[in-house]
């Protein structure tokens, strides 16, 4: 039993207890200075009225849709390219590299490259005759920009997950397809993609859960601006808790995020029939 003691202690103190306490705090008013005071459903009622909360949800969903949509397509593309062309570990390593660099570092590098006046990206755009874009300063561009940065960091990692899934597809199905005269495109849409579905579902669930929790990139670049355009739910909860010391309300929002994530994962698993494999 001594084997389990440290981990159990850690689990109870830093996972179980805070989960229960977080649920309780969401029904209280708590400023850290005085003990939490139970106030029933007030935090949740307030949330319904809070336009910042709704804005945060909308912005977060916008981010998730752009991020996950593009990232998944790119990851499948990269994985297919690697699968067909090379097993080189160097290629895989290069593709993975950005994932190992801290979000904060990645955000700063892109913040510099996308600078309105002297950033290299806008210099490049100017060269081909496009007006410079205020990637972080324009409220229409801010969320796509943040999404793009995180796609750059994560697409290689996601591609390697898909790549691992591709290798699990037995070669005889491809041989059969070739014998039947299937074109490459047909093979991809009719065979590869359906057989890849269980892997894709898992990848989608995991990347989407991560994507809902975007924080670091925004904290070091836009800080929620311009005019609330990038105040995602994680950042709003952080602000409420740690700059306004409104812990009860922040906990209630974290609770809602928790429920949303649980529903999203369940729905995805259901809709994409994750458990059935077509390879039976």
């Amino acid at each position: 039993m001594i084997f389990l003691a440290p981990a159990t202690l850690g689990f109870v103190v830093f996972y179980i207890w805070p989960t229960l306490r977080g649920a309780y705090l969401s029904f209280t008013e708590y400023s850290l200075l005085q003990p939490p005071r139970f106030n029933g459903l007030q935090n949740y009622e307030r949330m319904v009225q809070d336009s910042f909360f709704w804005n945060a949800l909308v912005v977060t969903v916008e981010y998730v849709v752009i991020n996950i949509g593009l990232q998944t397509v790119l990851a499948v593309l990269i994985a297919m390219l690697m699968y067909r062309l090379t097993k080189s570990i160097t290629v895989r390593a290069v593709i993975l590299l950005p994932y190992l660099i801290a979000n904060v570092v990645v955000a700063l590098v892109w913040y510099w490259m996308l600078d309105f006046q002297v950033g290299i990206v806008n210099q490049g755009l100017e060269l081909i005759g496009i007006d410079p874009v205020a990637f972080f300063g324009d409220s229409h561009w801010a969320i796509p920009t943040v999404a793009g940065i995180n796609i750059w960091r994560h697409m290689g990692y996601t591609a390697l997950l898909v790549f691992a899934g591709l290798q699990m597809i037995p070669s005889y199905v491809y041989e059969a397809a070739e014998v039947d005269g299937s074109s490459e495109m047909q093979t991809f849409w009719r065979i590869t993609l359906p057989l890849l579905r269980p892997v894709l579902v898992m990848v989608l669930v995991v990347t989407m859960i991560g994507s809902f929790q975007v924080f670091d990139t925004i904290a070091v670049t836009t800080q929620g601006g311009p005019i609330n355009a990038t105040r995602v739910i994680y950042f709003y909860i952080y602000e409420r808790a740690f700059t306004r010391f409104d812990f009860g309300y922040a906990s209630a929002m974290a609770m809602v995020l928790f429920v949303i994530l649980a529903i999203v994962s369940l729905l995805q698993l259901r809709l994409l029939r994750a458990k059935e494999s077509d390879l039976a």
Binding site: T19, I101, V109
Partner: protein, 293 residues
Amino acid sequence: MRKSLTPGRAAAWALLIVLMVLTLFPFYWMLRTAFSDNTQLAGHPSSLLPVETTLGAFKRVLGLSTVEEAQAQGGSGAAVNFWLYLRNSVIVSTVTTLCQVFFSAMAAYAFARLRWPGRDKVFALFLAALMVPPIFTTLPNFVLIKNLGLLNSFAGIILPGALMTPFAIFFLRQFFLGISRELEEAAMIDGAGHRRIFFGIVIPMSAAPIATLAILTYINSWNDYFWPLLVGQQENVRVLTVALGVFRSQTPQGGPDWAGLMAAALIAALPMIILFLAFAKRITNSIGFSGIK
């Protein structure tokens, strides 16, 4: 599959190479900027080589240049000491990794090998914790660390991750389950206790997955921002990621010290790049079969 270079394959290679260049270019740009003189950067925004090559930016962020020197090269002159933050990051990541991997391995052994009532239910509960979004437990954990008086201490930064993570236990349990029992049973007949079996047989036999887990844990810990931002703001325990955020918010809006920022970012990224170069094969191979982190 045919291996000859058809036009289709050539196009595919071209696309893959473009994607790799897109992946690598920001690293080059970070390097190019870090070795530039910040006052000259704005004049040559698209120069592909460093502008007025200098080590000034590195000296500046490592606290090695005087205020005058720093300002002459476009720094703010504010005191920054990335040596200190580098040291803090090393301390936090090393202690977190050692403790987390060791205690998780012990627990994984208990879940994989020991028989006790309710084992599988407890394991399921551990896994269920993976579903709880970090921010939900982070708020109460912050209150706990604050009440324990551990704000702005290494203990406060390290403690929540030091004893276990559900992922680490899950990861190692998979490997322990795969080890053949015969050796352990033989040892048990010879009178070896669980402690000797764990240290003498299980750990040596799983050295490879334990090393992989340790590397992944180290990288995650090194790159973590949110938790140290909350509990480790003070300079003496500030880690690199937090320091970069502070450095960025200190730079004046008009003329940011881009060279300094990129030099600091490079200092934060370089240890991970080196670690990756050393263990590239192990790290890339771990992604996929270990499932999902």
